[in-house]
Amino acid sequence: MVSVEEVTKIFPANRRSLFPSGKAGSVTAVDRVSLSVADNEIVALIGESGCGKTTLGKIMLGIIPASDGKVLFDGHRLEEFTSSGRKEYMDWRRRYQMVFQDPYSSLNPRLTVRQTLAEPFILHTGLDTASVRLKVDELIWAVGLDSGVDSCLPGELSGGQRQRVNIARALACQPRFIVCDEPLATLDASVKSQIVNLLVGIHRQYGVSYLFISHDLPAARYIADRVAVMYRGSLVETAPTELFFNRPRHPYSQILLANSHQRYRDGRLSDPSVPITHQPGSTGCKFAGQCPRAAAVCFSAQPLLIQTEPDSFLACHLPPG
């Protein structure tokens, strides 16, 4: 349904900045990534912070433009929607939504919950005030919020409540695809489970697809049909959830999983997040510097994402046997 082909995003270094950072050159946040999400599918995108997960999610929704590559919606290019008339654009935008990472800054602090949730209906439908009211009540109920919160401002809500308002807003006008960017990161255990149940329920009931961005691996395993692992802007592995959690193939995926399973007490983790400076323009696998299995070929040529099993893709020169 939604796919990106060979997209790259380069953020240029701002040379006219008031405080020049001293770092010359630009940052490649996403590097030739191809990924698709099918109808009625939940794909989890995992990886350490700063690896480009959010950027990829935003590119998939056309929120930020890709520097290179194609973004396709049912085979149609993104540009067809953005450059066509307002009606077509709005109709497209209605179906592709995002739940932003930060539940604090993604709500307008001066709008009440009711006003925030009424906005999508006013923008996308021609409903009259009374029907909008009913629809908003329905939404508030669907995400499990108290009916009393509708007159609250975001500042009066807890993190979990705000996150639910965010989700309700994305669900308002029957979307087909939602990018959920770390929707669980700031939540308590019980609220987290509530939100996951909510997302799964909506998926089952309405067939909404998700790109579920997270570094919470147990939650990703619970919710997703397929897992995509990202490392420093590149996809290194995609596989069906069960297969991935039973038998991760890429060395980075293996370390990521081992870390997540490991107990905190002994504190001897092989840490994949040590910043190794990958020279832009240098060839070779980005993970080679930390890979326990790296050989000469890993430092000289970047591995491509190739199909290893019917639904699995792997970018590694020396995949384990």
């Binding site: 996951v196 570094h215 147990p218 905190y264 002994d266």
Partner: protein, 333 residues
């Protein structure tokens, strides 16, 4: 435990001055012994940070103030001490890692100058080696090129880096009691375990203790020795970490444990959750604060405050369900 407790909190009650408003901390009692890491867990807003602030005497007062109870820190009645005396003990006796690490450093000075300033203020004899100590600890906390980082200003550093700098500062003052309020929120898995490992070493074989405040029960149980579960301004259960995960007693702790998503969660089943209180009945009622959300609540729970039942040496629970399991000779209601 044979050694005397570093910190004893007795019946601590904190609230606002308004008549009729509920107390935010409601009769909290706890003891922290040398050599242990105690996890304080509970949902956001349950009063975890407030307890830390009350214990260090850094309560936002007014509007909040201590209404009753005692805090005994290393034998001193902390609440009766003069502010000057408290300041003399802060850093040496008790240090705090603040949850809000963004504002932990002055934006106008380099982080290094601030860290070294604090350490040498508390331990003047260490002035010359403070910088070296900072670098060594920061390396242990998984921070790359610490020397470079120390020369930078707070705004030049990432959230994760700042958080680790704040942790290092508090640890290097070498207090007897370190209170760490959600110290790993901005860290990824690798750095997080580096921090927990450093904390484990901090108390090992020393006359020190750590109170580790977190909303993540899994993480807290993995490296703390003892867990205190807090709900709505009260400590509802205290237990050794492993026991709490295996056999939680209080219905709220049970809810916390069973709602945690794990690698074993059944993908076909909805996750279990603690029912939310949609009636708003919990406020103002005389009994147990959890009663409105509790699946096992009985009539007595709504009418009377539950007793604190001591089940075993290191185990207590504040719940009517366990009222008949009192360990002999430890009656305390």
């Amino acid at each position: 435990m044979n050694k005397p407790a570093i910190l004893t909190v007795e019946n601590l009650t904190v609230g606002t001055g308004d008549a009729g408003s509920e107390n935010l901390l409601d009769g909290v009692s706890a003891e922290i012994f040398p050599g242990e890491i105690v996890g304080l867990v509970g949902e956001s807003g349950c009063g975890k940070s407030l307890l830390a602030q009350a214990v260090t005497g850094l309560l936002d007062s007014p509007p909040l103030f201590v209404k009753g109870g005692r805090v005994i820190l290393e034998g001193d009645d902390w609440l009766a001490l003069e502010e000057k005396e408290k300041n003399r003990r802060r850093g040496r006796v008790v240090s705090m890692i603040w949850q809000d690490f963004h504002n932990a450093f002055n934006p106008l000075f380099t982080v290094g100058s601030q860290m070294i300033g604090i350490i040498s203020h508390i331990h003047p004899e260490r002035r010359r080696m403070a910088s070296w100590q900072c670098c060594r600890l920061l390396e242990r906390l998984n921070l790359d090129r610490p020397q470079e980082k120390l020369r930078q200003f707070p705004h030049q550093l990432s959230g994760g880096t700042r958080q680790r700098l704040a942790i290092a500062t508090a640890m290097l003052t070498e207090p007897r009691l370190l209170i760490a309020d959600e110290p790993t929120t901005a860290l990824d898995a690798g750095s997080r375990s580096a921090v927990t490992a450093a904390m484990t070493d901090f108390v090992r074989g020393q006359d020190r203790a750590i109170v580790f405040i977190s909303h993540d029960l899994t993480m807290a149980s993995d490296f703390c020795h003892r867990i205190m579960v807090m709900y709505s301004g009260k400590i509802v259960e205290t237990a050794p970490a492993g026991q709490l995960q295996r056999t939680p007693l209080h219905p709220y702790s049970k809810g916390l444990v069973s709602s945690t998503i794990t690698f074993e969660s059944d993908r076909g089943q909805p996750l279990s959750v603690i029912p939310s209180d949609r009636t708003g009945r919990s406020s103002g009622q005389p009994g147990c604060k959890f009663a409105a959300r509790c699946p096992q609540a009985a009539d007595v729970c709504r009418r009377r405050k539950p007793p604190i039942v001591k089940i075993a040496q290191e185990r207590s629970v504040a719940c009517w369900l366990h009222a008949d399991r009192e360990l002999e000779g430890h009656g305390k209601c």
